[in-house]
Assembly symmetry: C3
């Protein structure tokens, strides 16, 4: 082979490579118009998009991939979306007839808030699954549940004393949006248009309340629920970010749901922290051993996982289909609710809960044992990619035990509180959450029982002991007893 042959070969390779990278990235003429201005005014997100899969392949290209590696779940897409990459226009103009936030913008009908329904044009299966995910109902599960709403009100209120009387001023909408609804999702309303100077001259834009927000249960201006960008962060929408645990930390790190913290100290979290730089977070399907060596949140709860060329679990955006129990956010852990809308629950006492205050589950709202077993089997199939049966059984037996024992410790706190109410030391009339002795009770389940269960579920060491764990469960009972004594002394 002569040098000139090498050169020729290089040229050929170059053109193949060039062709591979750029030949198919056809940007639609609409998106080109958007980019004309927005690469100047919001350059950062344009760069994010340029680095994203969306800017590199058209739905048509995506459809050609083999079943396993396919990243869109549509069988076909509408002709106008087919041949160009997914750019500004493809998301912000699609479905605009259904969007209350649609407005005239340089000759286009554009909407600001991109919703699961917009994404469903290419990702319908994920949209369908997500609608069964309890997260998609996170807004209503909070504000339509009288108990949780009472709690949120107490948390966000302004306390004042007027004429020696305690007053609680309800929180403003702005506060609610900045507090619980940051994660649960806001309700986005459109309140007309306002005019604003831009570098293109005066322009009109919709006035949105509840904006900005990327909460998992956001009520969107097209009537849909949720925000895909809660996990697939704008404007790269990458599978990589959704697979990394940091993304989940936004809503799952506080004392009410310390999943991220528990994971971080678990052996799985140790391995992730130590080795993740060498993993491939972008591969579909995601291959144990080749792409990664320890689970992230996504591995157990959402991703499609392959071992030795065999799919172990299918991708799910429902997530709870690998979860036999509901572990957090409730006074007592129970079987998982059947419906993602948890505001429908009602126990015998009339409270919107899946259990009585005595701990007994309200079974008609909950999945049955058979379904629990099937869900657990799915979860265990992920575990068995690395662990033996005796390891896995030992692990889950402990989780069962900690569900039982934390529920018992909540029963005790509940009895103490009920006695305090009965004895007139506190009152459940106005609210269940506005007195100190009630806050001890709330923390028993919302923080400590919760943390212990997470620690058992993920082998999270001190989050089951001293860091809001069993130590706190026990100490809290001790404190409740003393506090009640002090309240009694005062009353005499």
């Amino acid at each position: 082979m002569k040098i000139r042959n090498i050169f020729a070969l290089c040229s050929v390779l170059f053109f193949f490579f060039y062709g591979y990278c750029f030949a198919e990235t056809k940007i639609s003429s609409n998106t080109q118009v958007c980019l004309g201005c927005h690469k100047l005014v919001t350059a950062g997100i344009v760069e994010d998009w340029k680095n994203s899969m969306h800017s590199k392949a058209s739905p048509e290209d995506a459809l050609k991939k083999n079943a396993k590696e396919k990243r869109i779940s549509a069988q076909s897409v509408s002709p106008e979306l087919k041949n160009s990459v997914v750019g500004c226009a493809e998301c912000h103009i699609a479905n605009n007839g259904e969007h209350k936030d649609t407005f005239e913008h340089n000759g286009f009908k554009v909407h600001i808030v991109v919703t699961p329904s917009d994404c469903a044009k290419c990702h319908p299966v994920e949209n369908e699954q997500y609608s069964k995910n309890i997260m998609s109902h996170a807004y209503g599960n909070l504000v339509n549940n009288s108990l949780y709403k009472d709690f949120a009100n107490t948390v966000n209120a302004i306390y004042t004393t007027e004429k020696k009387k305690n007053k609680i001023k309800p929180a403003s909408e702005l506060t609610e949006q900045d507090s619980c609804l940051y994660c649960h999702g806001t309700k986005i309303d459109v309140n007309g248009l306002n005019e604003r100077e831009t570098f293109m001259g005066s322009m009109k834009f919709p006035v949105l309340s509840g904006w900005p927000n990327a909460g998992v249960g956001r009520l969107n201006p097209d009537g849909t629920k949720g925000s895909c960008s809660a996990c697939h962060t704008r404007h790269s929408f990458s599978i990589e970010m959704a697979r990394k645990t940091d993304t989940c930390s936004t809503c799952h790190k506080g004392p009410d749901v310390p999943a991220y913290k528990v994971y971080s100290v678990s052996k799985h979290g140790n391995i992730y922290a130590s080795k993740k730089e060498k993993w491939n977070f972008d591969s579909v399907p995601w291959k144990i051993g080749q792409d990664f060596n320890a689970p992230t949140c996504a591995v157990c709860h959402a991703s499609e996982i392959e071992v030795n060329g065999k799919i172990v679990v299918k991708r799910t955006h429902q997530m709870n289909d690998r979860l036999p129990h509901r572990l957090f956010g409730v006074p007592y852990a129970t079987a998982h609710p059947k419906s993602p809308d948890t505001s429908i629950a009602k126990n015998k006492a009339g409270l919107p809960l899946f259990s009585e205050l005595t701990g007994e589950p309200v079974v008609q709202y909950l999945i049955d044992e058979k379904e629990q077993k099937e869900r657990l089997a799915k979860m265990k199939s992920v575990c068995s990619s690395c662990h033996s049966s005796s390891f896995i059984e030992g692990h889950f037996t402990r989780l069962e035990e900690s569900i039982r024992t934390t529920n018992e410790m909540t029963i005790e706190a509940t009895k103490l509180l009920a006695n305090a109410w009965k004895g007139g030391l506190a009152s459940n009339k106005e609210s269940l959450f506005d007195e100190t002795i009630e806050s001890f009770w709330t923390e028993q389940w919302l923080f400590y029982a919760n943390s212990v269960r997470f620690a058992s579920a993920m082998a999270g060491a001190d989050y089951g002991v001293f860091d809001n764990g069993r130590y706190n469960l026990s100490r809290n009972i001790q404190r409740m007893k003393d506090w009640i004594k002090f309240l009694e002394t005062k009353k005499k």
Copy 2:
């Protein structure tokens, strides 16, 4: 082209590359003497320095760069610094006449503590800006403020009971240096010389009190304030480390100033955690979209940022020039103080605060609305690189609301405390911080109000709710009320 031609080309490229890397690294003869021993006795920092920009370019080289990419702000440097790279001698011998810690060391007059004034030989603009940064006054802002000094004393003291009477023994200087002053900066004094055996035989070294320390407001032996190595960690002094959020965590992670924690769970923090490996933290100016995809602390508060070839905000080491408000470390959030020396404040009650205890701001010490607007506009110009106006306005409207509401919640705690004092249940005579009911009050503003405001400012989710957030603000009021009842019962 023949093989020998390829070889020739390689050789030429090699020499170009070699020349580029090494031709200009002229180490001064003084520094060569230093390195002779110190590459043996403190090898680690010599390696750090070797990897640093300081070991690779002389100020002369730095001056030749085009305006945008220049990393020194001096228009010219003194001839003896000009032509050699910045090594040991260039920093530890410079200005030695002004350094009380200068000592004879192997024939050189050397000082141990390198100060902003030493760095200012090449970086005068940064030094000048930093002197307007509230951080440069952090030592005096603590010890010259009678209220904060009272607080620090109570925190660091030793509690004992002697003859059934409570005693508070003041903290030692060592404790103070190890506690508050670790971040605020110590006062470094020189107390003569002592003799020590070294591998070079017996040598004399200055005895320093307050050493080691790299606090932001350190009082240096040359009369200057601050420590550049607080952020530009010794001995690499890299822009990369100062731009990474981990560096800020040293002083900005505790419950009194949870900025790092809030950032970590924000979407910006999620993106940083997921993608930072692919970013360029060393580029000047720092280009949104090309070098990085989400802000770190430095992006919003300090760095010079470029979008599409246009500088969006100029580099600032004053930092508060993008900050309309003072959010933390104070009972009530107010407009930002005019002077970086905050110990000059005095309210009507004579307390060294920028607000009355009723929340009303003491306006003569604070920047006016016009200045607030200008600062906010600078901050927003960073935001607009990725976000639309409606997004940005929505975000900052919530911050305003949380400033208002957290201040209200502090007012309520203050009223409760004032009543306790008035009723003889506690005393503000000895200290405002040495009784339990007072600690509830302190935590209301120092921990919880603070955390809520940070969470609003950076979209930090649970730090505005359950993790020292609004939940804690409300619970704290409930507890204060009960505690007061218990104190009353006891008094009867």
Copy 3:
């Protein structure tokens, strides 16, 4: 040189490279049988192993390395281990005569739990050193110490009220394994065999109690103590993971032992977080400046460190040989215990502690001043690789001071508690840990004194002030005093 020569050269290089990588990886026939199934049924750990050093070199190869770079400490290994790489069989079949968990498995006698004694076939020095590490006795140090056992019982118990009387139901074994023993190590017992369906048909496996567990003081079925995989995570067993701080976080992050958190905010931790991607965590010996630029946990406590070709400290798995003091887990910091078995301690009052409740150390169990000095000297020799003597002395003087002052603050809390017991406000009869006033005392030393000492030892900023630091030490004394007043009022 002609093209064909280049080709020839490439071929030669390829075969050298191939030879280097694969020629020596002789997998034993036993291991090949294991892999035959397990690459299918537990594919993840097989991949981990494939990426590990164990799969790449035989002990014979390892013995040939020069002394400094050797990764095994055996002078020779038994012939059957010599010539093949360390695979499944080499660990899970070795020593099977001594393993109670050995069982028949497809014609092999296999044991599940690999122990320090198994690892000692190649790593005897590490095993010997680790047996002197207090961690190897972590199980007995908890359950054989009546005081700590009392504490653990109180933490893990179920609290109930029966017939208006408080009852404390002891924790189940499952709870204990999931709580304290997760880190301390469980006792693994073999309870016969059970039969299970597998993809190979029905098979019998041992029934293990206390499994899974990788606690540092695990009681193994072969009578040994500990688990090497606590730090050298299965099945890569890498030196890299053991050197990264994340691994230590599993057991050293909670409020009782916040080492990881303290490190993270220290300057050392900042540098690690910012620069670790560029470090070499796999090199033996580990070279300051070349391989890494700031210490991780391992650097100071375990690793063999080289500077300028000279070994500064030798590798130790004893760890406490660089530690003059015992800083945590005890009411009072003292000199380090002589024996790793701390359950042997007894003070004058008969309590299993290394100090009287008044703080006075029980010296006969503790290393003497000479030994303390030698241990400190070792630690300081690591520091001196980067820091000057005055820096190091200043640092450790502060640690001494914080040991002294935190002990004083514990004395005060102890006095308050003793008075409460004396006055009948609480009782030390049943337990020292089951009343609120006692929990204040426990937290004084277990959380706050502890955290302050760690913060001093590693320059950890707010963990010595507001984050379980001196602020909490002081506040806790204030609260204890008020609580005692309330208990007194109640009693009247």
